[in-house]
């Protein structure tokens, strides 16, 4: 049964991709067909491996049809920054203004098509994730998971499910990428500097101090102390059961 549904859904997805003129579900940005076609060609060559040929996700790259950044983008004003500067594991690309405009046209058009898929939309829906038990999730939060040692449902996590819907909440729950770590650097003279960690490798450490200034030192010549709150999330990764994760996400999804 499942496989038959899969085949039908796959065929639907393919035919909808081919039908570039699918009816919009809400007021949307539209683009000339030629521009969309040029964008598709460029997208297939440079972006499709990670984001999928239909922009719906591929090897590890996010599903752009569900991306908040794409949703907020108008004529490439946000997409352009990511394409030209890179982000997380994504490398930067040199593209002309017209190439960028065509990429944006293709991505928005694909998003329009995906948004119009009611019921049988591929990818991760928020409702897919909350299969756990709210009470058990709360117990895990306060007990085994020790989440309560750093977080409060009425404090920092108040409204967290509104700010981070669905998959984004699950990802941030498991590992809050980009969370700021505190760094203190002590020089041989005894002078100390504190701030947020800006860079750290085997050879160089850097922080951004309270005034926003970037300062770096050779790692071998200073003493460094780092307090990275995200490390507690890494330790949990080896201990979670899948049930723990679903109970916890189901509980956190109530913090709206």
């Amino acid at each position: 049964m499942r496989s038959i549904w899969g085949v039908i859904a796959g065929l639907l997805a393919i035919s909808s991709i081919c039908a570039q003129q699918a009816a919009p579900a809400r007021p949307i940005q539209t683009f000339p067909a030629e521009q969309v076609k040029a964008g598709e060609s460029l997208f297939v060559q440079q972006c499709a491996f990670c984001h999928g040929r239909d922009t719906g996700g591929g090897e590890d790259g996010p599903d752009l049809t569900r991306s908040k950044l794409v949703a907020d983008d108008v004529n490439g004003n946000l997409i352009g920054n990511v394409v030209r500067n890179g982000r997380n594991n994504m490398p930067r690309f040199t593209v002309s203004d017209s190439e960028l405009a065509s990429l944006g046209a293709f991505i928005h058009t694909q998003k329009n098509i995906a948004d119009a898929q009611n019921g049988q939309r591929k990818g991760v829906d928020p409702s897919d994730l909350t299969t756990g038990n709210i009470e058990k999730g709360k117990q895990y939060f306060n007990g085994t998971g020790k989440c309560v040692q750093c977080h409060s449902p009425s404090g920092d996590l108040a409204g967290v499910a509104t700010r981070n819907p669905g998959l984004r909440l699950m990802q941030r729950m498991m590992y809050p990428r980009g969370a700021k770590a505190k760094m203190t650097v002590t020089l041989p003279s005894g002078e100390t500097f504190s701030g947020t960690r800006a860079y750290e490798d085997e050879f160089t450490v850097a922080l951004r101090d309270a005034s926003g200034r970037y300062r770096s030192w050779p790692a071998a010549k200073v003493t460094v102390k780092v307090d990275d709150p995200a490390e507690a999330h890494v330790e949990l990764l080896a201990r979670y059961t899948d049930d723990d994760i679903h109970n916890l996400i189901t509980y956190l999804s109530t913090l709206k």
Partner: protein
């Protein structure tokens, strides 16, 4: 001594000013790196000793060649007759190995294939073999980069693309293909180096549409070769659809496998499957490294692979019999190992509608970047990526191509030195958050070269992993280092972004 080396080097260049020969591919002269792995074994180990743990501190830039292009260099360069050849998608560069100045640059016509990477060109006589994003094999004249012929390897309109560096054995150019976004048959092809005609083809999976059978098993990394038994060893990729395994029940034979092939006929001798019925995109294409050494007191002809799925395998390469199976980082997807030494997948860790937390992530505990085997220490050194990912699939994702979604949660880079006889990790060396794309090179003087995930190239002491030298390249290394000696001077080649760097001791 130095003078002797100089004369030897010059003589070798003059005498062998004819590209590669079967003999030079079997035993590469020290003034060359004539194929992807250097030699056929895949050990990426060099006998050169001029740069050693005592003097490596003085290593300095000999030259840098800037492609000036968008693409990052992911190719392992080759070096023949004093000229370096490497590629990026649609581009081949010939560069003077002494000075870094460009000899020629070839550009392939614009095409719609995936421009994800190009792992290098290969050489037969004076001819170069280059695979393109739209799955063609192009034969170029190494002297000037002009096209001799161009043949179609696979139909890019159906979703195939190519990125690998062909493996050349006598008069066979072995080429593999990529293509995870469609349900396609994986294959290995042997092509005549003179005419471009196909000599044989080995299919890893049945034709698309065969009931209850898998597709996939792509062949996108360069294999290794044992001349004594005249056997090619090749890793195959994951089955398709990728994350939905329900429509391809069973082990999905010859996908995620190490296969032994007769290079004359394309007939399979044996197969070992690191990931039976894979549902996590863990291609087993990582380099099958060939080592002749003792295993638990007896001399063995072995094959070692640190596989993307998190397992390290040692096999008897004549029979495919398993000698050792162990993990080399966090792995949570199996229920154990079967009698053949193959991991048993845990059904509960298949992708699901509400997500499953999996170690390692889809990029794997390692990947395409080359490991190195150091014969002096018996260490297998691999750039590892301890990591977790979350995997999804549901009916709406279908049963074609990717058929689901997966996202990396967390990962870091660690260089690991594995004792191949026990699987124990003798030392580790952190190489940064997220992980590194750089491969590993070891040399007979006891040095290990690699890159960290933050743009530094590193020289470590092989015995204990201590850093002896480093330099920032400005962008992470996405290729595997090589080394050669010209005019009595040893060079180490590394890349960062679109720049090729040559390092040497001061003159």
């Amino acid at each position: 001594m130095k003078l002797n080396y100089l004369i030897l080097g010059l003589t070798a260049s003059t005498l062998f000013g004819q590209g590669t020969t079967p003999d030079t591919l079997l035993k590469p002269p020290k003034d060359s790196w004539p194929a992807y792995h250097g030699d056929y074994s895949g050990r990426r180990h060099s006998g050169l000793t001029q740069i050693n743990p005592q003097n490596v501190r003085g290593l300095t830039l000999a030259w840098a060649y800037q492609t000036g292009a968008n693409s990052q260099i992911k190719a392992s360069p080759i070096l023949v007759d004093g000229v370096i050849y490497f590629s990026t998608p649609d581009n081949v560069y010939a560069v003077d190995a002494r000075s870094g100045h460009q000899v020629w640059h070839y550009t392939y016509p614009q095409n719609k294939g995936f421009h994800i990477g190009s792992r290098g060109v290969s050489m037969y006589g004076d001819w170069l073999y280059f695979m393109t994003p739209d799955a063609h094999l192009v034969c170029l004249n190494a002297k000037d980069g002009t096209v001799r012929w161009n043949v179609v390897v696979a139909d890019s309109a159906r979703g195939y693309w190519t990125s690998m560096s062909p493996l050349i054995i006598r008069n066979h150019v072995l080429v593999g293909v990529s293509g995870d976004f469609d349900n396609l048959t994986g294959f290995l092809k042997s092509i005549d180096p003179e005419t471009g005609k196909t000599q044989w083809r080995w299919d890893s999976t049945p034709p698309s549409g065969t009931p209850n059978a898998t597709t996939g098993g792509m062949t996108w990394m360069t294999g290794t070769y044992d001349p004594e038994s005249d056997t090619v060893y090749w890793g195959t990729g994951n089955p398709t659809p990728v994350l939905n395994g329900d429509v391809r029940p069973g082990d999905d034979p010859d996908t995620c496998s190490i296969v032994a092939i007769d290079p004359n006929t394309g007939k399979k001798k044996w197969a070992f499957q690191p990931s039976p019925h894979d549902t996590h995109d863990w291609d087993a294409v990582e380099i099958p490294v060939l080592v002749d050494a003792d295993f638990k007191g007896s001399p063995r002809k072995m094959l070692m692979q640190a596989s993307r799925n998190g397992y390290f395998f040692v096999l008897d390469r004549l029979t495919g019999q398993n000698l050792l199976t162990t993990t080399f980082g966090p792995v949570n997807w199996s229920t154990g190992v079967d009698a053949k030494g193959q991991p048993i997948p845990n059904k509960a860790k298949d992708p699901a509608q509400d997500g499953r937390l999996i170690a390692p992530d889809e990029g794997g505990l390692t990947n395409y970047r080359s490991p190195s085997y150091d014969p002096q220490t018996g260490l297998f050194i691999v750039s590892a990526h301890p990591s977790y990912g979350v995997y999804f699939t549901k009916p709406a994702d279908g049963a074609f191509g990717w058929a689901g979604a997966d996202y990396g949660v967390w990962g870091k880079g660690v260089l690991e030195a594995i004792d191949y006889q026990t699987g124990k990790i003798r030392w580790t060396h952190d190489i940064g958050p997220n992980g590194s794309g750089a491969g590993v090179l070891t040399t007979e003087s006891g040095l290990t070269f690699t890159g960290d995930g933050q743009g530094s190239v590193l020289a470590l002491r092989t015995s204990d992993g201590k850093t002896l030298w480093h330099a920032g390249q400005g962008q992470g290394m996405q290729s595997s280092p090589i080394t050669y000696e010209l005019d009595g001077r040893q060079y180490v080649l590394t890349s960062g972004g679109g720049v090729m760097f040559a390092w040497a001791l001061p003159e």
